[in-house]
């Protein structure tokens, strides 16, 4: 049994906008959401920049909600409410409604704030909500509760590919008949001195502090690392049958996914790109598509020196000469890297590219690294063809995770 899966709703809050349409407008225009972190602690840090959500969740949610939710849960709830409304608030049997929302790190800022309270005021002053704020399944649980989902609430964790893995897991729930509607995506809000110090210790972060908006620059010869971002992206996935029966507007089709692992190194990409290439090939196979059917790739493209080249190698390894005709974009050049939220927001940008037949630019790509042999550019948006088209979204994570998801036009 494999039922067709469609996308009927989208919601997001990121460093470039508080909802889907404002995000898309900024992304097509190549606008960066990166800025200097306005906190005294950045003083001693090598990387002092990040992508902060443009709309603070505290300005939207009620105080009694926010005091029991980690910031990642707040972002997930805001994006999920937008997605649900965008889907027309589906009338669905809650026992056929699932939730799969990923996070890379979970409620780390709540954990560390609680630790500060423990040291300062003692164990009796720890919030009774701390545990449910720090658990990685917190965003999925909060959103599942909001909509009463009873078909299952899940949280795949695979670092920076978590959001894409969540979408593939959600699609599988529908394909195999466990659910008719699944709220799926990823959320992350982990900008904190300790995470910044940790990623900086790996030499993974850009230190272009004097020009924050130019810091995330995938494929550019002068790229020097990724920029942390925060936010959430949520899609409503639905069986085609269920969507048609309720007269829902279908925004795109989930075509297939490939999930593999490198077996190479805990944090470095396989320079041969073998695992990532297999993920792309598996996704094409599940989608019953060929490389020539792809018109656009929303690449993982974090702006690290090694990662961008390895991904280019993987793409060419999987797609061969068809690669020359596929327009590739790295939208982390504008949003920064949302870790567990990345695969989710970039899946939404992929679906929007299909909807509007426009692929976004890669901002800050001034001088292409000669080792990158992809069809990329910073003069966007680029027109995509009419007719039946497919778009690939790549996501990779520390631990050697490779996830490729393909969406198709309706």
């Amino acid at each position: 049994m494999s039922r067709a899966v469609v996308v009927t709703g989208m919601g997001m809050t990121t460093p470039v906008g508080g909802d889907v349409e404002s995000n898309w407008e900024a992304i097509l225009a190549g606008q960066s959401g990166i800025s200097l972190i306005d906190e005294p602690w950045v003083e001693d840090h090598t990387a002092k920049i990040a992508g902060i959500m443009t709309v603070d969740p505290l300005s939207i949610l009620e105080k009694h909600e926010t005091r029991r939710m980690d910031r990642s849960q707040q972002a997930a709830l805001i994006a999920a409410r937008e997605a649900w409304e965008n889907a027309g608030s589906p009338d669905v049997d809650v026992e056929r409604l699932g939730t799969v929302i990923a996070t890379g790190i979970g409620g780390i800022t709540s954990l560390l704030a609680s630790y500060d309270i423990l040291l300062d005021r003692g164990p009796s002053r720890i919030s009774p909500h701390m545990v449910t704020m720090i658990m990685p399944n917190g965003p999925a649980a909060i959103v599942g509760l909001e909509f009463g989902a009873r078909a299952g609430v899940h949280t795949p964790v695979s670092a920076c590919s978590s959001g894409a893995e969540a979408i593939s897991y959600a699609a599988r729930m529908i394909q195999t008949g466990r659910a008719d509607v699944v709220i799926a995506g990823g959320a992350e809000a982990a900008i904190h001195p300790i995470t910044m110090a940790g990623f900086a210790a790996m030499r993974a972060l850009s230190t272009r502090n004097d020009d924050p908006q130019a810091a995330s620059r995938p494929y550019d010869i002068d790229r020097d690392g990724f920029v942390m971002g925060e936010g959430a992206g949520i899609v409503i996935l639905e069986s085609e049958e269920h969507a048609i029966a309720r007269g829902a507007k279908i925004l795109g089709r989930y075509a297939g996914a490939g999930l593999t692992s490198d077996g190479h190194h805990i944090a470095q990409p396989d320079p041969e790109g073998a695992g990532a290439a297999r993920a792309i090939t598996c996704a094409l196979e599940e989608a019953s598509l060929t490389p020539a059917d792809l018109v656009h790739i929303n690449a993982h493209a974090t702006s690290t020196p090694q990662g961008d080249i390895a991904e280019g190698t993987a793409i060419r390894r999987a797609l061969g000469s068809a690669t020359d005709n596929i327009y590739v974009a790295g939208t982390k050049s504008m949003t920064g890297h949302l870790l567990g939220g990345a695969g989710a927001i970039e899946s939404i940008y992929s679906i929007l590219a299909i909807r509007d037949r426009k692929a976004p630019p890669t901002a800050n790509l001034d001088n292409l690294d000669p080792e990158v042999t992809l069809n990329v550019g910073n003069n966007g948006p680029v027109e995509l063809p009419q007719g039946d088209i497919a778009v690939l979204n790549n996501s990779f994570g520390f631990g050697g995770h490779d996830v490729a998801v393909i969406f198709r036009s309706v």
Binding site: E62, R68, R125, P128, H129
Partner: protein, 79 residues
């Protein structure tokens, strides 16, 4: 400290914890049944009350605080 002062202070705390409008928080209201304050949120209410009035509300006592009036009386008697 008057009963009204304690009730007013407690109403602010319950509002922040559970989102119930302050004017609906009266002496006869039950925390769980009327104000949607679950056992976790009740821990928050107790913690905030301890901080505000310098009282100690042990778990054995907290579980007897069924209504807002029970809590007000306990705080008045022990602060």
């Amino acid at each position: 400290m008057s009963q009204e002062e304690v009730l007013g202070g407690l109403a602010v705390i319950v509002n922040e914890v559970a989102g119930v409008p302050v004017d609906q928080i009266t002496l006869d209201k039950k925390f769980v049944d009327d104000l949607d304050v679950d056992s976790l949120s009740m821990v928050e209410v107790v913690m905030a009350a301890e901080d505000k009035w310098g009282v100690k509300i042990p778990d054995a006592e907290a579980k007897n605080l069924v209504t807002v009036g029970d809590a007000v009386a306990y705080i008045e008697a022990n602060s």
